[in-house]
């Protein structure tokens, strides 16, 4: 059975309409993965070197175990945002002679071979070997230690899916995980309960008495069983339908009329964002973007790095632009054929998206004005970033949209579907963010802050001045790829 599942996935990967594009992304992700692997592989050696040089009297084994609590929290947090349960289309299997438990077991086991789970091995294996070679501990302890940590990785793996599935239905889905990790961190930090040393002692103790490994194995078993039960319940068609009969209020949105001929599309976009789970959750990311600066500006280190302001400026005024814009026109993929056969001008359609994005930049800039507390330079940088976002990034992202060939199912809320919310979504923002930052930093070091600001603002203004012309050429690009888009949006996956 597993053989069949694997071959089906193989086919869905190679036969999908977006194959060429997703291959390019996969190659890029491959390099990114390689980079991460190198960091992880190096850190084991570096830690050992550092300890021997700087703190020769500490036992590296105990020191490492002291860090495990923080690694545990960080790992859980990162997993929540980047690792999703493997996707599988289950509906066709439900009426076939396949056990439900087989499907669930397959999905769960597949999640164990995730790249995220292999990364820490690159650190702990060399570190463990060094421990043996340098004579800090003996071989059997290290082997038990490895087993213990692998179990811990898998515990995190399954713990994450439980947290995800419990919070996925809520609107602020990322709040519980942030609360949980910060409470644990806080308890430890303020010495209420010394979790870090408890965990360290547990890991050290278990490594020295391998019989105690039964405890993490039992925990893992319980978590696996819990996951199994959650998933098997979702394997019924009606599990997603229960709360459907909720009444809805028709919205009026008359105020959009003042935007003239793009009003119908603007209304449509606003309704789309507010009425679909998928888009609604991206609204909450706005808050994160808005407060992004608070992670950096209060720290004196960043106060002396004016070139860094640009990154935060572009990010915090452009968060909506990036999270919404990257899926244009895929948001409308479900009814793209309708739009293409209706009496509309492509230009109006795109202009509505542009207006929405530009408007969001202005609003986010205004909301971010209190950042002036950290100095007038911050405010100026944000202002320049806003102009750059409106003049350059909006056009870039609209242009990029014409290469979009991947359908989004707005109303799919079935289990196993976390479509398009993985790491790719985050990676795509890089050119939009890093380009202005790099340019700004370069200009800043060659000349000074004011000139760098002026030049970036100039780019933005040029973009705004040539808006009509740019939109025309973008429209042309969309018109050219019209048939390809219709074809691709017609295909599932």
């Amino acid at each position: 059975m597993v053989k069949h599942f694997i071959s089906l996935e193989w086919k869905s990967f190679f036969r999908s309409a977006s194959f060429g594009k997703s291959l390019a992304i996969k190659i890029f992700m491959g390099f990114f993965a390689l980079y991460l692997a190198m960091i992880f592989a190096g850190s084991g050696f570096l830690l050992m070197l550092y300890l021997e040089k700087e703190q020769p009297e500490t036992d590296p084994f105990l020191f490492f175990n002291g860090l495990i609590f923080f690694w545990f929290l960080g790992d859980l947090l990162i997993r929540f945002f980047f690792q999703k349960l493997p996707v599988m289309t289950v509906k066709p299997f439900l009426t076939l002679p396949v056990n439900r438990s087989q499907i669930v077991n397959y999905v769960l086991r597949k999640s164990m071979v995730s790249f995220v789970n292999f990364l820490p091995l690159l650190t702990i294996i060399p570190f463990g070997i060094l421990l043996i070679v340098k004579g800090y501990t003996n071989t059997s302890v290290v082997i038990a230690w490895w087993v213990m940590l692998i179990l811990l990785i898998l515990i995190n793996n399954f713990l994450n899916f439980i947290i995800e599935s419990l919070s996925a239905e809520r609107e602020l889905s990322f709040l519980p995980i942030i609360l949980l990790t910060s409470i644990l961190y806080g308890l430890n930090h303020f010495d209420v309960i010394d979790l870090a040393s408890l965990m360290s002692k547990a890991v050290t103790g278990i490594s020295e008495n391998p019989y105690y490994l039964i405890t993490p194995v039992a925990i893992l078993g319980v978590l696996y069983g819990f996951n199994f039960n959650i998933l098997i319940k979702k394997l019924y068609l009606d599990s997603g339908l229960k709360e459907k009969v909720k009444e809805v209020n028709a919205a009026n949105l008359e105020w959009t009329k003042s935007f003239g001929d793009i009003a119908p599309f603007l209304q449509l976009d606003l309704k789309m964002i507010w009425r679909n789970k998928r888009t609604k959750s991206s609204v909450w990311i706005l808050l994160m973007g808005l407060f992004y600066g608070l992670f950096f500006y209060p720290q004196p280190t960043y106060q002396d790095l004016p070139w860094f302001f640009m990154l935060i400026g572009v990010f915090s005024t452009g968060i909506f632009l990036i999270s919404f814009g990257q899926f244009i026109p895929a948001w409308d993929s479900g009814y793209y054929k309708l739009l293409m056969s209706q009496n509309i001008k492509y230009e109006q359609y795109l202009k509505s998206k542009f207006t929405l994005m530009a408007f969001s930049v202005v609003v986010l800039f205004v909301l971010g004005i209190p950042y002036v507390y950290f100095g007038w330079k911050v405010l100026i940088a944000h202002f320049v970033a806003a102009i750059y976002n409106i003049g350059v990034n909006t056009h870039v992202i609209l242009y990029g949209g014409s290469f979009n060939r991947k359908k989004i199912n707005l109303d799919q809320k079935a289990a196993f579907n976390y479509q398009g919310t993985g790491a790719v979504q985050w990676l795509i923002g890089i050119p939009l963010l890093l380009l202005p930052m790099g340019l700004f930093a370069l200009l800043y070091f060659i000349t000074n802050f004011e000139i760098a600001c002026a030049i970036l603002a100039l780019f933005g203004v040029i973009g705004i001045v040539f808006h009509q012309k740019l939109m025309r050429s973008i429209t042309l690009k969309y018109t050219k790829s019209k048939y390809k888009m219709i074809d691709a949006f017609n295909q599932e996956n």
Binding site: E247, Y335, L338, I344
Partner: protein
């Protein structure tokens, strides 16, 4: 009204449609029948410029559809559920289509009110999104939306499928009425030979992308069609 010349569509080397010439005059109700893969939906998609023809072209009211977009104001269609916007209520959907077609809310309300019978009380004022309606009710919304804005050409792909018997009969009435009284050119495809012969003035049979029969509907048509598909 609609002139098709030398039209063909190939996917790689596989020809799915080849129509040398086909003229549909204004005000005709035109039925397209054929087995699966005969090319019905392909023809409609070409007519709506959703796919590109390999050779030839279609001219809709003096406008070549793959060259200009000027055919859009007087042409409307309902091909499948992908013509619906799932997160709108039926009313909002009608208003949206109405705005694209230059109709105000009052116009839409009047138009939609005429179809209260057809909707059978299951569409309007239900406070439900389109995605939460049943397949049959979704279809009703799509068909009525295709009538918005006084189009001169209406294209309906398999309008009878998924509808309950009562609604099928009412739909036949609507289609006949449009063609006879308002001079609208209607193109429909169907697998149900009885329904097509009931509502269409003319029936064209497609087989593997080619026209094999072109009949003016008469008493004998249904028999002839049945004989054709039985063999």
């Amino acid at each position: 009204m609609i002139t098709t010349s030398n039209l063909s569509k190939k996917y790689k080397n596989n020809e799915v449609l080849n129509i040398e010439s086909l003229n549909i005059p204004k005000g005709q109700s035109f039925g397209l029948v054929g087995n699966n893969g005969a090319g019905k939906t392909t023809y409609f998609s070409l007519l709506l410029d959703l796919i590109q023809p390999t050779t030839g072209h279609i001219v809709n009211n003096d406008i070549q559809v793959n060259e200009s977009e000027a055919w859009k104001p007087f042409t409307s269609a309902f091909i499948d559920e992908s013509f619906l916007i799932g997160y709108l209520t039926p009313e909002e959907y009608f208003y949206f289509i109405g705005e694209l077609r230059g109709q105000n809310k009052a116009d839409i309300d009047t138009l939609v009110a005429q179809f209260e019978d057809f909707f059978h009380g299951e569409i309007l004022g239900q406070k439900k999104y389109l995605r939460d309606l049943s397949k049959g009710n979704q279809k009703k919304v799509g068909i009525v939306a295709a009538l918005i804005g006084n189009p001169e050409v209406i294209i309906l792909d398999e309008p009878f499928a998924n509808l309950d018997p009562t609604t099928q009969i009412r739909l036949k009435g609507i289609i006949k009425d449009l063609a006879e009284k308002k001079g609208v050119t209607i193109l429909i495809s169907s697998h149900d030979l009885m329904h097509v012969t009931d509502v269409c003035d003319r029936i064209v049979v497609l087989e593997k992308g080619r026209i094999v029969k072109d009949l003016v509907t008469s008493e004998a048509t249904l028999k002839e069609l049945e004989a054709h598909f039985a063999s």
